[in-house]
């Protein structure tokens, strides 16, 4: 009964979404205020129905209702309850439902927190999000209904893939989708601005906090995914250039470009057309990512061709979304105008260059991800594109962007001078260079790639500090250092934090690649081995049983210079319902290094192949991403966006003036 309620709620949600997509847009075009206001109500209604559907599916999972096909394929009665909840998005249908729930959530948030914006603008944005929702609801109802019954019901479920039975599965997909779907707000705002024909600085100011928030979620989502792969796959790697990872990385790169471009549009009114394009593409790539991961096209182009309903639907939907958005852009482009002028050497031009680099990087990752699919579809042969390709292409592209990251933030708007910049940054450069040259010696071995990586990291940090010091020195506040620090905006500190995050990430990635040690050994009870200055000794082996698996567990004591450091418990688990054995690596986390122990294959009853890693500074990789996300969060709460959650702006008097200003700027 409850699954049918869920199904019915989805149908109702589709009808409400249609109303949400049509009435506000038509109302905005005709100036009908009542129709415009319908958008907010419909958004709330849609959210309610989608939430009911989501709740019904979750109920089916928690209560082990194996008469629902989706539950039977992705859960099992012995599965712990937290993974039954995560099982809701463990497969295709459920993740689409999660996508929808989050989209409805963002829409309600836009309707709620944009009361100070012109009614017309909000109506259009909510309408556009409603139309996106219509597409996804129709997709679910026609091709991927999670409530489909299985008659007769299965005695028990096929279980969730053991790889997914992890806290990572509970956190990573919702976080990632919050980011993906959050970019729909930037997209909807861009379309609303295009429809109204008023692309001005105010539009970018409204769009910025939303875009920043979505970017923050995507950043966290990617970091969580990487961390999860690190500890779960038993290989100690943190990024595999897997198409699924690339699918989330491409929108991140374009979204990062969008953030920087929005900053220029807000501050200087320039790049308006480019910013709108980026907003369209960021969301389009989010959709493309969903399509790539969920259509099965990555596994095999041919599997996709034999069961094309889903793929064709998403492809057509993608075509409609991107096509209509670009068409609208093309018809309005000539009205956009250039905005403020600037010199070829200025903060604007550097941000533009940053945008070019990020866009080219995103394009290259996209090329490498799609190329084998296209080649295969055209029957021109099967090839694989993996890490060697992406490393060759991506790293050289990003190096100049890292250099710009130091210069851009201190360059003046409109016109900067290179000699002046060089003078202001000379100490930052000297300190950065010395750090990069000398630090590898402290690590025990000098090598050029390590030094180069450290140069980028150190340069970002020292130039950021130079910028901050300069601001403090120039500050007109004569008060304490705290008062001077307080005079800078939160978005400035957000930027600093995010940039330093990039540096921390680069440092971590460089050091772990340069200095990690790995040993694969045969270990029987009592055997010991030395890795990275630590002694590892297998004390005993035991059999343990978890809720839905049995495991061989090792107890490995770790010593350093004779002193006990820790005891680690690597496991090899086997899940009866899903045959394949799982490696559960033991990790001793640390600020300076991780110790990572994973069981390989058993050689006999008392001997295992054991893989042991000493990974210096590996945690810095995720610490860097966390800093980036925190930087984003700080910028969201900048004072000048505070209006977004405060009381409405006294709009009636100022709006005509704003309109005039926008129109004037557009001429």
């Amino acid at each position: 009964m409850i699954p049918e309620i869920g199904h019915f709620a989805l149908i109702l949600a589709l009808l409400v979404a249609l109303a949400q997509g049509i009435f506000p847009l038509v109302g905005a075009a005709r100036g009908n205020l009542a129709w415009m206001r319908m958008g907010r109500t419909a958004a709330l209604g849609q959210f309610l129905f989608v939430a009911i559907a989501f709740g019904s599916l979750m109920h089916a999972f928690i209560s082990n209702d194996f008469s629902v096909l989706y539950v039977a394929s992705n859960s099992n009665s012995s599965l712990p309850v937290q993974y039954r909840i995560a099982g809701v998005w463990g497969g295709h249908e459920g993740s689409m439902l999660l996508w929808l729930l989050i989209l409805a959530g963002w829409t309600v948030a836009v309707a709620r927190f944009s009361r100070h914006l012109p009614e017309e603008f909000v109506a259009r944005a909510v309408g556009v999000m409603g139309l996106v929702s219509v597409g996804f609801l129709a997709f679910m109802l026609f091709t991927s209904n999670p409530f489909e019954r299985l008659i007769p019901a299965a005695a028990d479920g096929r279980d969730l893939n053991p790889l997914l039975q992890d806290i990572g599965m509970v956190l990573h997909p919702p976080m990632l989708y919050m980011g993906y779907v959050g970019f729909s707000v930037a997209f909807a705002f861009a379309i609303a601005a295009l429809l109204s024909g008023r692309l001005d600085a105010t539009w970018s100011r409204w769009s910025r906090p939303w875009t920043m928030l979505a970017w923050m979620f995507l950043t966290l989502g990617i970091a969580l995914g990487s961390l999860w792969a690190y500890y779960e796959l038993g290989w100690g790697g943190w990024w595999f250039w897997d198409p699924v990872e690339n699918a989330s990385f491409i929108p991140w790169l374009v979204g990062t470009a969008l953030l920087h471009s929005l900053a220029v549009t807000e501050k200087r009114g320039a790049f308006k057309g480019w910013t709108v394009l980026l907003a369209i593409f960021t969301f389009s790539f989010s959709l493309l990512g969903t399509f790539l991961v969920r259509s099965g096209v990555l596994t095999s182009v041919h599997a996709f061709a034999t069961d094309p309903a889903r793929g064709i639907f998403v492809l057509v939907f993608l075509g409609i979304v991107i096509g209509s958005a670009l068409l609208l852009f093309a018809t309005r482009a000539q009205r956009i105008g250039l905005g403020g002028t600037f010199h070829p050497v200025s903060r604007e031009s550097m941000l533009l260059l940053n945008n070019v680099v990020l866009a080219v990087a995103a394009g290259s990752v996209l090329l490498g991800t799609l190329y084998p699919l296209v080649l295969d579809a055209l029957e021109l042969g099967k090839i694989s594109v993996g890490r060697p390709y992406f490393d060759t292409v991506f790293v050289p592209l990003m190096a100049p962007a890292m250099f710009l990251m130091g210069v851009g933030p201190i360059a003046n708007w409109k016109k900067a001078s290179l000699p002046d910049l060089a003078t202001r940054l000379r100490w930052a450069f000297v300190v950065g260079l010395l750090t990069a040259l000398l630090l590898p010696f402290a690590m025990g071995r000098w090598s050029a790639p390590v030094s180069l990586g450290l140069l980028m990291a150190a340069w970002i940090v020292t130039s950021s500090m130079a910028g901050l010091l300069e601001r403090l020195r120039r500050s007109r506040d004569s008060g304490s250092i705290l008062a001077k620090l307080g005079a800078n905006s939160r978005s400035y500190y957000g930027m600093l934090l995010a940039h330093v995050g990039v540096a921390v990430f680069i440092a971590g990635a460089t050091l772990v690649k340069g200095y990690e040690t790995e040993k694969d050994v045969r270990m029987g009870v009592g055997d010991s081995v030395e890795v990275g200055g630590y002694g590892f000794r297998l004390e005993r082996l035991s059999e343990v049983s978890g809720p839905n698996y049995i495991a061989s567990r090792g107890e490995i004591s770790v010593t350093r210079d004779g002193r006990a450091v820790t005891v680690m418990y690597p496991e090899k688990r086997s899940y009866p319902t899903q045959k394949n054995p799982m490696t559960e690596a033991a990790i001793d986390w640390g600020f300076y290094r991780d110790l990572y122990v994973a069981f390989g294959e058993p050689l006999d009853a008392t001997t295992w192949v054991v893989r042991i890693f000493h990974k210096p500074f590996v945690e810095w990789i995720w610490a860097g991403w966390l800093l980036m996300a925190l930087g984003g969060l700080l910028a969201v709460f900048d004072r000048r966006y505070r209006i977004a959650v405060g009381k409405p702006l006294r709009a009636p008097a100022s709006e005509p003036l704003l309109r005039e200003a926008g129109a004037a700027a557009a001429r």
Binding site: A201, W235, F240, P243, G269, T299, L338, T341, P344, L352, L353, V356, V357, A359, G363, S364, L367, G368, Y371, L375, L380, G381, K382, I383, S384, V385, G386, R387, P388, Y389, L397, W413, N488, S489, Y492, K519, D520, V521, R522, G524, G526, D527, S528, E530, G535, R537, T559, D561, G562, G600, V609, R639, R640, I643, S654, L658, A661, A664, A665, R667
Partner: protein, 156 residues
Amino acid sequence: MRMLMAVTLLAVVPFAAFAREAPPAADDPVLEERLMVLAGELRCLVCQNQTLAESQAELAVDLRNEIREQMRRGASDQDVIDYLVARYGDFVLYRPPLKATTLLLWSGPAILLLIGIVILTRSLTRRVHTVEAPLAEAARARAQELLGADGGAERS
């Protein structure tokens, strides 16, 4: 060096004194290292998207044994690659070879960068030749004022 470390370890860890140094999993660690570096650029053909080095699939284990055997007989990395490509095609290589069908793949990023830079320079030079309309500036200042005092407060 390894022996030295093992000896020091044995000397300083009293309770480990009776312990055996765990032998490397491979008979020939140097060859194994070479094998794994090469296998890291090869695809496990039956896996979802894993390198030959990472996979524990039966075929991957067999192939590693095969490569190990060939290397032991003195085959170079290129010999091994040629052998695998002859058997499984380019699909086995994670670094696609440069040929007519992959020309666009390898040149694509450079072409994209070139296009980006051309567009960038064109738009920059175009801007230099446009004179900013003073009205727009004045109107924006008014807009800024209306948006609140802190609108332009961020020093830049």
